[in-house]
C-alpha cells in the first residue's frame, strides 16, 4: 500500500487533510501564504473574532519559556464586519477550507456573531472559542463553567440552525474536562477543539513584577503536549463519536500521530508555526509517512487507536 486516505470529517465538513492552523496562530492567512499555498493544508482556523474591533492587551505580550511560550494577546482583531469583508474573501480566493473562530464576552455576543456567519458562503465550520485565557475577568472564561459553556453553544446552535458544524474550544484548566465536553456536545457541538493554552505566569527578575503586560498568559508549545494528549484521550474515551481537533505543542509528524492515536480526528498547529513558517507542511508530510509505515490505509483507522486493547488488534 503506497497511499493513505488522509481526509477527515468534522460534523458534515470534509477536509482533504487533518492538518489545520490553530486559532490565533495564522492571523489573516496572508502572512503564511508566502510560505505555502493555504489550500495545501486541511484548513485555516481563523483568529477568534469578536463583534467589535479590539486592541488587545498591552505589551509585553510574550515570554519564551522552556519548550514553549506564554502569550497575552487578548483577542486583538478587526471585529466581525471587517473580518467578513476582508479576511474571509481572501481565504476563499486562496481556496482554503475555513473554520471561523468566534469569541464573545456574553452569551448574546456569540449568538450575534453566529447570526452574521449564517449566510456567509465558503465557511466549513465554526469554532466557538469559549476558553481564551486572555480576558480581563477569569469569570468570563465560559469553558471553566459547565452551565455557561452549555448556554453559549446552545445559543450558537439555535442561531445558525443545523447545517454548519460547531466546534467548541475548551480549556484544560478545569477540574472535570469530560463533563464540560459532554455538556457542550449535548447543547449541540458537533466537535471539540482540545486544548486551549494553559494559564501561566512569568515574573521578570529585573522588575521583580509579572513580565507580561496582562500579567497572566496562555502557555503553548511542546511543554503542554502531554496535557493535550491526556485531554484528548480522556474526552475521546467518554465521547468516542465526537470528532476532536487536537492541539497543544504539536511540532512534528510524530506529535501529530500521538494526538490522533489518542483520539483526535485532526490536529491544529500553532506555536510550531511561529518557530517555523512551513511547520504545517512538514508535519503533514511526516504524518502521512508515519501512517503508511504503520500499515494504516486511512487516517480514520488511526483515530483513537491508543484506546484499543492489545487483544483487540
Amino acid at each position: 500500500m503506497t497511499t493513505v486516505d488522509f481526509s477527515t470529517t468534522i460534523g458534515n465538513a470534509w477536509f482533504p487533510a487533518p492538518t489545520f492552523t490553530a486559532s490565533g496562530c495564522a492571523s489573516s492567512g496572508r502572512e503564511l501564504a508566502q510560505f505555502f499555498p493555504l489550500k495545501d493544508m486541511g484548513g485555516v482556523v481563523t483568529k477568534s473574532v469578536m463583534s467589535k474591533a479590539r486592541a488587545g492587551r498591552p505589551t509585553p505580550r510574550m515570554a519564551e519559556t522552556p519548550s514553549g511560550m506564554l502569550n497575552s494577546i487578548g483577542l486583538q482583531g478587526p471585529g466581525i464586519d471587517a473580518f467578513l469583508a476582508k479576511d474571509v474573501p481572501y481565504l476563499v480566493e486562496q481556496k482554503a477550507r475555513i473554520i471561523v473562530s468566534i469569541a464573545g464576552e456574553t452569551v448574546e455576543e456569540y449568538s450575534t456573531l453566529a447570526r452574521k456567519l449564517r449566510s456567509v458562503s465558503g465557511i466549513s465550520a465554526i469554532e466557538v472559542n469559549i476558553s481564551c485565557p486572555n480576558v480581563e475577568n477569569r469569570g468570563l472564561v465560559f469553558a471553566c463553567d459547565p452551565e455557561a459553556s452549555r448556554r453559549v453553544i446552545d445559543g450558537v446552535r439555535r442561531t445558525i440552525g443545523g447545517e454548519l458544524p460547531i466546534i467548541a474550544k475548551l480549556s484544560p484548566d478545569v477540574t472535570d474536562l469530560v463533563s464540560i465536553a459532554k455538556g457542550v456536545v449535548e447543547a449541540g457541538a458537533d466537535g471539540l477543539a482540545l486544548i486551549n493554552t494553559v494559564l501561566g505566569m512569568v515574573i521578570n527578575l529585573d522588575s521583580m513584577r509579572p513580565h507580561l503586560g496582562g500579567k497572566t498568559g496562555g502557555l503553548s508549545g511542546p511543554a503542554i503536549r502531554p496535557i493535550a494528549v491526556r485531554a484528548v484521550y480522556q474526552v475521546h474515551a467518554a465521547l468516542p463519536q465526537t470528532p476532536i481537533l487536537g492541539m497543544g505543542g504539536i511540532a512534528s509528524g510524530k506529535d501529530a500521530l500521538e494526538m490522533i492515536l489518542a483520539g483526535a480526528s485532526g490536529v491544529s498547529i500553532g506555536t510550531a508555526s511561529f518557530g517555523n513558517p512551513t511547520a504545517i507542511m512538514s508535519i503533514q508530510a511526516e504524518l502521512k509517512q508515519l501512517l503508511l509505515d504503520r500499515g494504516f490505509t486511512s487516517l480514520k483507522q488511526a483515530v483513537g487507536f491508543a484506546h484499543r486493547s492489545i487483544e483487540g488488534e
Partner: protein, 278 residues
C-alpha cells in the same frame, strides 16, 4: 498575490565566518539570491539551539549589510551581541554550520528621492544596519552624518570601514568612556539646525527612539526609526510585537513591528502609550 512577507523565503544558510569584534560577533552567512532582496532595515529570523532545543522561537536580527558581488554568491552580515540564550548559541556557531533562516522580513528604510542632508542615529547594539544604509544614502548623493551612543564605550559598534560613507561620526557615552560624555540625543537639535537635516534615521532602544521623535516633531524633520519589540514569529502571525500607531483618521491601531515595522514613521508611533492598555 500576498503582499505580506512578499520577498521572504525560508532557507538553510551556511555560516561563512564568525569573528568576534569587541563585545560583538560579526557573522557572515551565505544566503544566495536572498541577498538581492534585502534592504537596510529588514531583518532575518533564525532558528536557534538545534533540533533538540528547548528554545522554540526564532530570533530576529537586523541585517547589517548584504553583498551580492562576492565570489561565494549572496552574503548577509549580522552583528550579534551574545547576551541572551539564543544570541549566545548563534555566536558560538562556527564556519560551516547551517542556519535555518527566514529573510528578508519587515519594512526597510525609505531612501529620499533627492540628495538631502540626513542624520543617522544609532544606540548601542542598534547601530549595525546604519552602515549599510549610509552607503546607499551616500550613493544617492545625500550628505550623511552619524552619531552613535551607548551606556559605555565597549557597547559602541563603529567599524573602521563604516566611517568611509559618512561625512562625520560622533560618539556619545553616558559614562564618558568613549567620545563625549552624554546622551546621543543631546546634540540632535543643534545638528538639525547646523546641517539643515531633512531626515533622521535611527536604530536603538525604544526610549531613544521616543526622545528623537520628540525632537523631530519640534523641527519638522522626518524620523524613520527601526523599533525593537519582542516578537515570537517575525512573520506577522503571533500578534505579540505590536505598537500603538496613529492612523490618518485619528484612530489608533496596534501594528505589528514585524510586518508594519521595524522601520516606522516615528511621528506616528504613540510612544507614551507603548505598554499601556488602549
Amino acid at each position: 498575490m500576498s503582499q505580506i512577507n512578499k520577498s521572504a523565503r525560508q532557507i538553510l544558510a551556511p555560516i561563512l565566518s564568525n569573528k568576534r569584534v569587541g563585545q560583538y560577533h560579526q557573522i557572515i552567512v551565505s544566503v544566495g539570491d536572498i541577498a538581492a532582496h534585502c534592504k537596510p532595515g529588514n531583518f532575518v529570523a533564525i532558528s536557534v539551539g538545534g533540533d533538540s532545543s528547548r528554545m522554540v522561537l526564532r530570533r530576529a536580527f537586523a541585517i547589517s549589510r548584504v553583498s551580492t558581488s562576492s565570489t561565494v554568491g549572496g552574503t548577509m552580515e549580522l552583528i550579534v551581541a551574545p547576551h541572551g540564550q539564543g544570541s549566545k548559541w548563534l555566536c558560538a556557531q562556527g564556519e560551516g554550520v547551517t542556519l535555518d533562516i527566514v529573510a528578508p522580513l519587515g519594512t526597510a528604510f525609505g531612501i529620499p528621492t533627492e540628495s538631502v542632508p540626513v542624520l543617522l542615529v544609532g544606540g548601542g547594539y542598534g547601530s549595525a544596519p546604519l552602515f549599510g544604509l549610509a552607503e546607499i544614502l551616500n550613493a544617492r548623493g545625500c550628505r550623511v552624518d552619524m552619531i552613535l551612543g551607548a551606556s559605555t564605550g565597549s557597547k559602541i559598534y563603529a567599524p573602521m570601514e563604516g566611517k568611509r560613507s559618512v561625512n562625520s561620526m560622533r560618539i556619545y557615552t553616558e559614562d564618558g568612556s568613549m567620545g563625549t560624555a552624554g546622551r546621543v540625543t543631546d546634540p540632535i537639535p543643534e545638528i538639525i539646525k547646523d546641517l539643515n537635516v531633512a531626515v533622521i534615521y535611527s536604530c536603538g532602544p525604544m526610549p531613544m527612539l521616543a526622545a528623537i521623535t520628540k525632537i523631530t516633531n519640534e523641527h519638522e524633520v522626518v524620523h524613520q526609526c527601526a523599533v525593537e519589540e519582542s516578537m515570537a514569529c517575525g512573520i506577522g502571525i503571533c500578534m505579540t510585537c505590536v505598537l500603538p500607531v496613529s492612523n490618518d483618521d485619528g484612530t489608533v491601531s496596534m501594528l505589528r513591528s514585524c510586518i508594519d515595522g521595524p522601520v516606522m514613521d516615528g511621528s506616528k508611533v504613540l510612544w507614551q502609550q507603548v505598554g499601556t492598555q488602549l
